[in-house]
Structures are given as structure tokens and as C-alpha cells.
Symmetry: C2
């Protein structure tokens, strides 16, 4: 792994740490705070610009009691001052007294600015899993 890939993976890990800690303060240091950054939460409409994205994290963190994430990096690609990381996530969370477990597929794009890597695009969506498939089969039968 190159030093640049290691830096990108650190920035990627920083995002998941902020997410698991439900920390808006840390999330603010992860993202490039520009109006052209974009975010797709699983099943949400796309969010355009840092203000809307910040608001979404505030809303998610405000309504979540806890979040536990098992994340695995599938691939990383660095091209000059841009990089993107593909991850899978298993998110266990409690919100409004309800426990949920979600399997997520994510594309995270990072941009290097002044020597640091910032998240500029997050696209997360539901992914198939053996468990999800089993539940689906149960519903269909």
C-alpha cells in the first residue's frame, strides 16, 4: 500500500469513527465544506451542498441512540488529488426505541486539499446479504 492510499484509508476511517460516535463535530472535520459536495444516504434523495449534508447528520445523530458499524474496505483507488473507496458496512443502530441492522454498500470520494484528504461524495445504498436474502425468501413464501 502506498503512503497516499494509507492517508486516504485514514480519512475513510475518520468518517466511520465520526459516524459511530454520532459526532457532528468530528463529521464537520471529515467533509470538504463546499456547496458542490454530495451525499446519498440509503433510500434518501441526494443531498446537495455541505449545509444540507450537515443538517442530515444532525438529524440522524439527534434521533439515534447508538450506532455500531462493522466496515470492510473492498477497494481503493488514488488518482492524483482524488481518491475513491468502496466499502461494505453492517450498521446496527437503535433509534426511537427500535433496533435495526442494515447492510450497506458505499462509494466514498475524497479530495486532497492543503495536504489533507476530505470527503466530497458519499453514496450509500442497501446491499444484498445472505441474511437479507433469507428474510426476503421468508417474505415471499
Amino acid at each position: 500500500m502506498t503512503p497516499e492510499e494509507e492517508q486516504v484509508l485514514e480519512a475513510n476511517q475518520h468518517f466511520y469513527t465520526a459516524l459511530q460516535k454520532l459526532s457532528l463535530e468530528e463529521m464537520e472535520t471529515v467533509w470538504l465544506q463546499e456547496d458542490w459536495v454530495r451525499c446519498v444516504h440509503p433510500g434518501w434523495e441526494i443531498l446537495e451542498g455541505w449545509e444540507a449534508i450537515r443538517g442530515s447528520w444532525q438529524q440522524i445523530f439527534g434521533s439515534t441512540q447508538f450506532m455500531h458499524i462493522v466496515m470492510a474496505v473492498q477497494s481503493i483507488r488514488v488518482e492524483n488529488s482524488l481518491a475513491w473507496v468502496c466499502c461494505t458496512e453492517k450498521i446496527s443502530s437503535a433509534a426511537a426505541g427500535r433496533f435495526d441492522s442494515d447492510f450497506i454498500q458505499t462509494t466514498n470520494i475524497f479530495k486532497r486539499q492543503n495536504g489533507a484528504w476530505y470527503l466530497v461524495h458519499h453514496h450509500a445504498s442497501s446491499r444484498p446479504t445472505s441474511q437479507a436474502e433469507e428474510e426476503k425468501t421468508e417474505l415471499v413464501q
Copy 2:
């Protein structure tokens, strides 16, 4: 719009033309044929490398009678030799005698090589729509 953005949008349109025409030949000219390119079809596991991605299009095109796509570009960002486009798609298709209509959210990443833009990452997932929301409400009630 800059000339570069126009070129990226042309490459993006080229992808949707190949998709709608169910043309593997055209799809082969859209992608950078490298082992590090990635593709997430809605609800699929991630596909790693051009051979796997090519195989998926072959499978999709082989089992689809027709595909009609209404695509809208939500945003485009060019950073040197990389660019990414956010799109919504309404895909109406017929496969195995069944008619389907899907609402999709997509992130497409392009890389410029030898003066041309090639698709290097495609992440497509289901998106909420007023119609989908209505169906969901009906199911819940």
C-alpha cells in the same frame, strides 16, 4: 458549462445510450477496461474489474427484451483528469415477459485518458419517488 464538463456529459450520455440500446459493443467503448474499475448494479454485490463488469452487462442485455431510460443529470464535477456525475434514472424494462419500472440514483466516475473520458466506477441504487412512497404507504397501512 466548461468544454470539459460538456465532454464528460457526452461520455455519460454515451453510457445511457449503450444501456438503452442493450449494446455490449457500445458498452465496451464506454468503460476503461482495467481490473481496478468497479460497478454496483441496484441490489447487486459490487463487481470488481472489467471482465466481471462486461459479464454482467452481457447477462443483463441477454435477458432483457427492451429498456427505456429517462435520465436527468443532477450534478457534475470535474477535477483535472477525473470527474463524477450524479444522475437519476427511471428505467422501464421488460425481461422474461415481465414489465418493470425502477427509480435509480447513480454516481458515475469518469477518468480522462488519451483525451477521452472513460467510465471507471458506476454505483446505482434504488431511490425514493412519490410513486414508490405511495406504494410503501399502501403496504404499511
